[in-house]
């Protein structure tokens, strides 16, 4: 070697270590601790719920022998900490156990129900962002005038009207009376089971297969629940956008931009919204995360077989494997969205870059 490694002011290896490997390791440790904590809390809460899980499995009238046999088959006769260790040990190896309620491996259930929620939440968030952000911008720019009042009215309804009521009214008007959209469920019965799920997201699956009649049917089923959830997301996002924009519009750089003679559209969209977008991203990610947990009431009203219905059913029957599996999914979604919004944050805000 012609040069000594120690003489190098910055070792390429150590820079890699500091810039990428260490943060990645730190992230991994954080993730592991977060998941373990999540599991522990869910597990122990699940065990103090005053519901007998054996009852869900064998029914109210099973004989004593059957009851005891099932109790030990479920591992409930062991000490709590031991049950937890066994569960975590299996989960690490990718085995989340079998759901009592559906008789399927929990993982299979989640693969089936999560895409339904993902589809609904994604379209709802798109609606919320596409309508809510412009509405918020308009409300801020026209503060105190009618676009602002409109945004406030929408926000008020969004905060005060319960989602199941709005869902039922939506069904009554747009499905029962006007016939613009299809009713509860994800797809019409005649199409049910015709297409093997690839991604589980029906819009994607039908589009990939070129089944446009089915695509259209699925869209007609999706649009109402998505619009209702999207409405709540819009109500929230427009209020948040408005306040972020108002804050930016008061800043000196806006005055400077205007003095420089920039067109007003550019001042608002590029300068003000560009800066308001930074905190807005986090807000959008959180609202998306909330929808991805599965909206229980919306899923009930629209008979939408998603994660929310699955998790509630499992909780009420003390179907612990299913509850833990679904909680892990929700946790993963939140962590992933947080990471994503951190990443976007850095892209949008140069100050946040290392």
């Amino acid at each position: 070697m012609a040069y000594s490694l120690s003489a190098a002011p910055e070792q390429p290896g150590s820079r890699f270590l500091r810039r990428a490997l260490l943060p990645a390791l730190r992230l991994l440790v954080t993730l592991a601790v977060t998941f373990l904590g999540l599991l522990a809390v869910t597990f122990f809460i699940g065990r103090v719920v005053p519901v007998d899980p054996v009852l869900a499995a064998v029914g109210d009238r099973a004989s004593h022998e059957v009851y005891e046999q099932t109790r030990s088959a479920l591992g409930l006769d062991q000490p709590l900490w031991q049950q937890f260790l066994i569960y975590v040990g299996k989960a690490v190896r990718g085995d989340f156990g079998t759901s009592v309620l559906t008789a399927n491996p929990v993982w299979e259930d989640i693969v089936r129900v999560f895409p339904a929620t993902l589809e609904l939440a994604t379209v709802a968030t798109l609606i919320g962002v596409l309508l809510g952000v412009p509405l918020g911008v308009l409300a801020a720019v026209h503060q105190g005038r009618w676009p602002d009042h409109l945004a406030r009215l929408i926000g008020l309804v969004g905060y005060s009207v319960p989602v199941f009521w709005l869902g039922l009214m939506g069904l009554l008007v747009f499905y029962a009376k006007l016939g613009w959209v299809a009713g509860p469920g994800r797809i019409d019965v005649m199409y049910d089971g015709l297409l093997a799920p690839v991604t589980g997201v029906i819009l994607l699956d039908t589009a990939l297969a070129g089944e446009w009649a089915m695509f259209h049917d699925a869209l007609r089923h999706l649009i109402l629940p998505a619009a209702i959830l999207g409405y709540y997301s819009m109500a929230y996002l427009s209020r948040m956008t408005r306040s972020f924009m108002l804050e930016q519009l008061r800043q000196e750089y806006i005055v400077t931009a205007r003095i420089k003679g920039l067109p007003e559209r550019r001042v608002i969209l590029r300068h003000a919204l560009g800066n308001a977008a930074v905190p807005l991203i986090t807000v959008i990610a959180l609202s998306y995360g909330n929808l991805l947990e599965g909206s229980v009431l919306t899923e009930t009203v629209f008979a939408w077989p998603g994660l929310g219905l699955y998790l509630t059913g499992a909780l009420l029957s003390a179907d612990m494997n299913a509850v833990l599996g679904a909680t892990l999914v929700v946790g993963t979604v939140f962590i992933a969205l947080n990471l994503l919004s951190d990443l976007l944050y850095r892209l949008l805000d140069p100050r946040a870059r290392p």
């Binding site: 009852l55 099973a62 008789a103 309508l131 029962a176 049917d217 009930t300 009420l316 003390a318």
Partner: protein, 533 residues
């Protein structure tokens, strides 16, 4: 000029709405398919040896055959199904069944006496939730191979431990748990000696008029006509049960014609549909009994005077008319109408003065406070509130504790409740199912192996227990009927149970749909006769 036009917002809205496209033609269900909106959250397994909830037994009734079935037109009549004929030995303990020849399972395998015997043995060996129905005959995993045998290819014998009323044995053999399963197919799918249970949870191995197409937990169950069925061919090709948890959603679906039958409508929905010419509503009596269980461990509730006072403090008629509105009717005996030995006497009505006098006699002139555990779903909270209002008139302060079904049941089974408000549905079409529930408690200790209703309310009843057992063994049906009638009268007078209502199932069907047989228990709900124009 405003820098940003409101137009941009309108444009975005238009783009979103445009994606919807023109509204498609009204979607009616296809002619050869019947779609039902139902609540399917209790579907947890498809194995008849494991099923114990209501709607799943109906699945077994349509996909599987049994040795014998109950005639839905006259529930006191047992008719042959897989069994062509049967005889009972002179000592009353051996039942011999002749099997119909040439029957086939959906798999194409031949159905023989061996399949029948193996199916019954399998229930006892698996020992799941509903095994108690057959275990009743004294069958255990150890003795079942001797007691249930295929004597030859067409003959099966069943030997009971004691003498039972033949109607009882046949009624149990007519229940879903006695469904005949395809031995060859199940053994081919057996894992770790589970007799095919793991596989059958999500598949089928039947010979019935319908075949399983798909079960998606929490979504739908789809069955299709078995074109090779030995008996009467079903008229309809496909039957789809869709899980629609919300009653109002069910109503909208049937109004639009997206479902043909709606099964879980509430009083408001029924009222709204009453004037609709496209929809027919009928009420079918069901076997579920709605009652209050008074835990006698509570010193006040243990007093006979208080128990009787409670029976005078229920506004039976008012609750039926104003809350239940056609979904339940007043009934005050533990056997539901339609069952052997049922009585329709209603000795109780709301009478606050009588109740007050009884409370005074019990030394509770100023009343007392007590809690009631109530399932958090219609109609229980509404009924509980009505009870609360009337009990207050006699000084009883009723505190309502709402909870999920399984939660209140867990508490009930641990005997830590004061009053339990809920339903009980018999498991099979025989009076013993309810007599055992309400009037049989062989061991009142905490370690009892039988935690049925009398036990749950700590009601120690050696005499009634004995009477229940005598009725169970009675060979003469007329005498058996009389025994149950006198037990019920005694029970009405003196018991910690306030029996109030019997379920009536309102069914909404689209015009043109006919022939849906809806028996008093889900095990007698048949799709074969359904036609659609």
């Amino acid at each position: 000029m405003p820098p940003l036009r409101v137009r941009s917002l309108a444009l975005a809205t238009a783009v979103l709405l445009g994606a919807l496209g023109p509204a498609a033609a009204l979607a009616a269900t296809p002619k050869d398919m019947v779609v039902m909106a139902a609540q399917l959250d209790e579907f947890i397994t498809l194995d008849p040896a494991e099923i114990y909830e209501l709607v799943p037994t109906e699945y077994a009734a349509n996909v599987y055959d049994r040795l014998v079935t109950i005639d839905p037109a006259d529930p006191s009549q047992i008719v042959g199904s897989i069994a062509e004929s049967w005889t009972v030995s002179a000592d009353g303990k051996t039942f011999t069944f002749k099997i119909r020849q040439g029957l086939e399972f959906h798999s194409g395998n031949l159905l023989s006496a061996e399949d029948v015997a193996w199916s019954l043995q399998r229930v006892i060996k698996l020992n799941k939730g509903p095994a108690f129905i057959l275990a009743e005959f004294g069958l255990t995993p150890e003795n079942v191979e001797q007691r249930v045998k295929a004597v030859d290819a067409n003959t099966v014998t069943l030997e009971t431990a004691k003498v039972y009323s033949p109607s009882f044995v046949l009624n149990c053999l007519a229940s879903w748990v006695s469904s005949v399963v395809d031995k060859k197919l199940l053994l081919a799918n057996e894992k770790d000696g589970d007799l095919g249970n793991g596989w059958l949870k999500t598949h089928e191995a039947g010979s019935g008029p319908f075949k399983l197409v798909a079960w998606k937990a929490g979504e739908s169950v789809i069955v299709e006509r078995n074109d090779a069925y030995w008996g009467k061919q079903p008229a309809i090709k496909r039957v789809v049960l869709r899980h629609v948890p919300e009653a109002a959603s069910q109503r909208l679906l049937i109004e639009k014609g997206d479902v043909d039958i709606a099964r879980n409508l509430g009083p408001d929905d029924l009222k709204a549909l009453a004037g609709n010419a496209d929809i027919r509503i009928r009420s079918v009596p069901q076997s579920a009994i709605y009652y209050m269980g008074l835990n006698t461990r509570n010193p006040n509730l243990g007093k006979p005077e208080v128990q009787e006072a409670m029976k005078w403090l229920v506004d039976y008629r008012g609750i039926a008319d104003n809350i239940l509105k056609g979904t339940y009717e007043v009934h005050q005996a533990f056997l539901p109408k339609g069952f052997l030995g049922a009585i329709d006497e209603q000795p109780y009505r709301l009478d606050v003065d009588k109740a007050r006098a009884l409370l005074e006699k019990a030394g509770l002139k100023d009343g007392f406070s007590v809690t009631i555990d109530v399932r958090n779903a219609y109609p229980s909270p509404e009924i509980a509130q009505a009870l609360q209002a009337n009990m207050a008139k006699a000084g009883i302060k009723l505190e309502i504790i709402p909870g999920d079904n399984k939660q209140t049941l867990t508490k009930y089974r641990s005997r830590t409740h004061d009053i339990y408000l809920g339903q009980w549905a018999p498991d099979y079409m025989d009076p013993h199912s309810n007599a055992q529930g309400f009037a049989w408690n062989p061991d009142n200790s905490d370690s009892s192996k039988f935690k049925l209703l009398a036990w749950r309310n700590s009601w120690d009843i050696p005499k009634l227990t004995q009477e229940s057992e005598a009725a169970l063994a009675e060979q003469d049906t007329a005498k058996r009927t009389a025994l149950y009638q006198s037990m019920q009268r005694e029970f009405q007078k003196n018991s910690p149970f306030v029996i109030m209502f019997q379920r009536v199932q309102p069914l909404a069907e689209r015009k043109g749909v006919a022939g849906f047989v809806f028996g008093p228990i889900n095990d007698m709900v048949y799709y074969s006769g359904i036609t659609k124009q």
